[in-house]
């Protein structure tokens, strides 16, 4: 049986409840919590089976400082229950839409920073480096 670390607790979704509650009480967010949530978002949507080992965590480490003050992230954290299907169904539609927009931004930024485009079929998606150029399109086929 594997050891349950704080990070695995969070990234498995269960700990998001606690993280959200703690964040709401404290009114501010520790970087490690934000990293864990970013990692969880990537793993949840892209899928562990598609990801190279450690890719989501490495992305989250680089990405968290850029988003630490982002109000959208705070709202996502505050509603962090959403990764759990049971709670997701109870969220108001407006919150779900806001969360989806934030998740899409994170997943988009991860995919743009990864080997998603150009890898051989079946290869795991690895994190390369944070892509900061606005609207660079690695998916474009010029010919």
């Amino acid at each position: 049986m594997g050891r349950t670390t704080r990070r695995s607790f969070l990234t498995n979704g269960i700990g998001l409840v606690a993280a959200a509650a703690a964040a709401g009480v404290a009114g501010r967010y520790a970087l490690t919590d934000i990293e864990a949530i970013l990692e969880a978002i990537v793993r949840h949507h892209v899928g562990d089976d598609a990801l190279a080992r450690g890719a989501a965590a490495a992305f989250a480490r680089d990405y968290a400082p850029m988003t630490a003050s982002n109000w959208k992230l705070r709202s996502a954290v505050a509603s962090g229950l959403y990764l759990l299907p049971l709670f997701r169904g109870a969220l108001p539609a407006g919150d779900l839409a806001r969360i989806e927009r934030y998740d899409r931004r994170v997943v988009t930024d991860f995919l743009l920073s990864s080997s998603y485009d150009g890898r051989e079929s079946g290869d795991p998606i690895d994190y390369l480096a944070l892509e900061t150029a606005p609207l660079c399109n690695p998916f474009a086929r010029l010919r």
Binding site: H45, V46, G47, A50, E100, R101, D103, R104, R105, V107, T108, L111, Y116, P134, L135, C136, N137, F139, A140, R141, L142, R143
Partner: protein
């Protein structure tokens, strides 16, 4: 230095002005003198990139400026976008370069709505070709739909996105969207599909600075930037002098022929201050009404095309529905800027930002107010696009699922309004009746025959298609005819 008398005085340096000027230069003698007055600054491409802006304050070229410093609007009304700078709209445009639909020129005759244009598609066709050649348009010469043409496009079309190409195989109404971006690197750097065309990082998009250097550097031309043209002085029914202000000093320059191509807000203001008031002057300010929707598909990517926007669907661009409501164009954006990539595994790229653009007609409720005080900014009154445009946009949005029928449509998002199309039009309309229009089909002022008014302000209606190519082509035609060559 602008001094003395000129054969030609050109006001403004956007599509209308520079294409008119380019044609004139081919007819004028080598000894001719031309003055070009531009209100904005000269900002080379690299400087635009550094400032993240197409325009800068002419008094302080390190300070970016924006359109809203040049007009006022009423509380709650829509913004208007344009560029003040040497090159005008050629700097900030995205390079979407469709021709107008042949029926756009005959709205009153065909559908009993709006006004007829004083020229037809066929009148303009050879000049469309010429403008496309000068600009370097990439398009599909083999499949042109209703946009009949006498010459092939100078550059091959860009590859469409997955969904665009799938539609082209099954829908005759799906066409490549002509673009003023270089698809093969023949004329400028090759487009890299970066998607930030307002400030193209590659300089692959046509601008006056990279595409018309021979015009701007012609030895016959004196260019004065930072020159805010206020009015024309008339004598015996002719425009004799152009009054402008530069660095706080009011000056004049005289010319045999004046070409007014400021923009659709400034053109009527200048004419009004010149004592050329007319019931239709400044009335009917219009631009298209647009919205974005995200379309999600099971099996096709909407972001893997070869440039920023690759396709157009023209199923509602013309037809009997125009008797009741506006025509609309669908443009296939190749970007995810508005909504991001998808979350679902295996379908991250299966998203399309669809731009839905409805035509607009002139309404007397919308107008440019020109204050008596020449130093005061024009005030734009634009309460609404009008029921014709609104109903057309709604109908086009309702019809979105029909476009993708059979292609695994999964979801169409709620529409998000586009605040401005950056296509200010219709304030000095062209027409055959001097009582209802400001200029004729040759863009000559009905009363002041040595005055040409150019650019999108002369459009009698605001069709769904992007207007810049048409403004350029119409200027080429008008200038040729000025010299008896058209």
């Amino acid at each position: 230095m602008i001094r003395g008398s000129y054969d030609l005085v050109v006001v403004g340096s956007g599509f209308g002005s520079l294409f008119y000027l380019r044609e004139c230069l081919g007819h004028l003698p080598r000894t001719a003198r031309v003055a070009l007055l531009e209100r904005g600054a000269y900002l080379p491409h690299a400087r635009q990139l550094a400032l993240r802006s197409n325009s800068a304050d002419p008094e302080d070229p390190d300070r970016p400026t924006s359109a809203d410093r040049y007009y006022r609007r009423l509380e709650g009304e829509k913004p208007w976008n344009f560029t003040i700078g040497l090159g005008g709209g050629t700097l900030c445009w995205w390079g979407q370069a469709p021709r107008l639909h042949p029926s756009d020129f005959g709205m009153r005759r065909l559908y009993g709505r709006g006004e007829d244009w004083p020229i037809s598609y066929d009148d303009l066709e050879p000049h469309y070709c010429a403008a496309e050649e000068i600009i370097g348009i990439a398009g599909d010469s083999d499949r042109v739909g209703p946009f009949r043409r006498s010459r092939p496009y100078p550059l091959p079309a860009f590859r469409g996105s997955g969904i665009d190409m799938a539609l082209r195989e099954r829908d005759p109404m799906q066409l490549a969207l002509p673009a003023a971006r270089d698809s093969i690197g023949a004329l400028r750097a090759q487009c890299c599909a970066h998607g930030e065309c307002r400030l193209c990082p590659q300089d692959a998009k046509f601008t006056a600075l990279n595409g018309l250097p021979a015009v701007l550097e012609d030895a016959r031309i004196s260019i004065l930037t930072g020159a805010n043209v206020l009015a024309l002085e008339l004598e015996a029914g002719h425009a004799r002098r152009v009054v402008f202000e530069r660095r706080g000093r009011r000056q004049t320059v005289s010319g045999d022929h004046v070409v007014l191509g400021a923009n659709a807000i400034c053109n009527p203001a200048i004419l009004q201050r010149s004592g050329l008031g007319h019931p239709e002057l400044g009335r009917g300010i219009a631009e298209q009404m647009g919205a974005n929707v995200e379309v999600q598909l099971a099996a096709h990517s909407g972001v893997d095309g070869g440039t920023a926007a690759t396709g157009q669907n023209i199923r509602l661009l013309d037809g009997a529905h125009r008797r009741a409501h506006a025509a609309a164009a669908y443009y296939f954006d190749n970007r995810w800027k508005h909504h991001g990539l998808r979350l679902e595994r295996g379908r991250h790229l299966n998203t399309l930002n669809l731009m839905v653009i409805a035509e607009a007609l002139r309404s007397e409720r919308n107008f440019v107010e020109v204050p008596e005080d020449w130093d005061a900014l024009p005030v734009i009154h634009h309460a609404t696009h009008g029921a014709y445009a609104e109903d057309g946009l709604r109908a086009a949005l309702r019809a979105v699922p029909e476009i993708f029928a059979g292609l695994g449509l999964e979801r169409v998002s709620e529409p998000v309004a586009r605040p401005s199309e950056a296509h200010v039009q219709c304030t000095t309309p062209a027409g055959t009746d001097p009582g209802r229009s400001i200029v004729d089909g040759d863009l000559l002022h009905h009363r002041v025959r040595n005055l040409s008014v150019v650019g999108t302000s002369v459009f009698p209606t605001a069709p769904a298609g992007n207007p810049s190519l048409t403004a350029a082509a119409w200027s080429l035609r008008a200038a040729r005819r000025l010299f008896g060559a058209g």
